[in-house]
Amino acid sequence: MGAQLRVYKRRIKSVTATKKITKAMEMIAASRVVKAQRKVQSSTPYATELTRAVTAVATGANDKHPLTTEAENPTRAAVLLLASDRGLAGAFNSNAIKAAEQLIKRLEGAGREVDVYAVGRRGIAHFNFRERKLAGSWAGFTDEPTYADAKKIGEPLIEAIEKATAEGGVDELHIVYTEFVSMMTQTAVEARLLPLSLDEVAKEAGESDTLRPLYDFEPSAEDVLDALLPRYVESRIYNALLQSSASKHAATRRAMKSATDNAGELINNLSRLANAARQAEITQEISEIVGGTAALADATAGSDK
């Protein structure tokens, strides 16, 4: 076998091995998307009921709660970025990070100090590399987040928003995550969690125009709201985590699908080149044999005479 042909054969073999890996990753990601989507769905009843309850209390209660009223001139804001632990998901992480960076820039442009919280090793690494101090970071569960993880993340955030701004608390809480629109489309979105804007919450619950009943609060409207809002924030974070993980798996699936397709194409091209090289080798051998025979025939013809 000629050197050229051997090189092609070796490359085909290595690309085939890579293709097998990416194909397997594609299938794993596809099955995980379905699982993650199911989790998003099963968490929806709780989120809707909670949203409905928050709207009911916040509109029913007359007194202003710190978590629902806007600070007159907000000076500090917290941004929570949800990225993933692992890459190989196309532009998934860079899109989320870009959205977060834009939001941070915009908030800083408006004269606010920004505390950044990051979830997922990719997001943490991004900010560490740029030497931005993170107020909090979590990693290791982005593939399959649980409610306990959301609780863990929510705790310091709620604490920060309850603290006075002068003592290192924040006035606003923003979250950046990747919304799962469909299998093909996932968009990085930002949302303000707190202070709560009631119109948006009502829109989400899908009952902005209906008249809400006058509730009897047990023990009191304020206490109920105090207990409700942290749960509301946690459930929003949980929902964002789940959507983010579904999006990540969908992005991985797509990235791995195109990698598999590329590998297939590469194998095709390489086999063509290998065939051409083999053919050239055969042609050369034949012409060598023919040439050799002719030379031999000439030599014997000369000696005969």
């Binding site: 989790k39 099963s42 968490s43 009843p45 709780y46 009921e49 909670l50 409905r52 309850a53 009911a56 209390v57 029913g60 649980t146 409610y147 609780k151 809400r212 009943p213 006058l214 509730y215 009897d216 609060f217 047990e218 023990p219 206490d223 109920v224 207990a227 409700l228 749960r231 946690e234 459930s235 949980y238």
Partner: protein, 124 residues
């Protein structure tokens, strides 16, 4: 037709039970409360403890809820809890073991969880 109320018992990650009922008894921070059809709209904070639901078929469903909320309006009652389990799903022996372990580890949260589970099983 006997008056009924529709009950949705949902945990953070799943819907635990839903159906028609005639009476729901739950423990709020200010005391036990019984809700029957036609009750005034209500929103309350739940204590960890068992919730008893009398279904319209005459059966009883007991669930352990770990904190959460009760909200009632228009004969629709929702019970929201981070963690909620039906008494039938609870493994009493496992809860007992968990209680002992929590006591020896002095893990107050785990101890409370196990106690609530055992109480729910006892009510059943």
């Amino acid at each position: 037709m006997a008056a009924e109320l529709h009950v949705e018992l949902v945990a953070a990650d799943r819907s635990v039970w839903s159906g028609e009922a005639t009476l729901v008894i739950a423990r709020t921070t200010s005391g036990d409360i019984g809700v029957m059809p036609g009750h005034q709209p209500l929103l309350g904070v739940l204590e960890s403890g068992p919730v008893t639901i009398r279904t319209s078929e005459g059966g009883t469903v007991v669930a352990a809820v770990h904190g959460g909320f009760i909200s009632f309006a228009d004969d629709k009652l929702s019970l929201l809890a981070e963690i909620a389990e039906l008494a039938d799903e609870i493994d009493a022996r496992r809860a007992e073991r968990a209680l002992e372990r929590a006591k020896s580890d002095e893990d107050a949260a785990a101890e409370r969880r196990a106690e609530v589970r055992l109480r729910a099983v006892a009510v059943r």
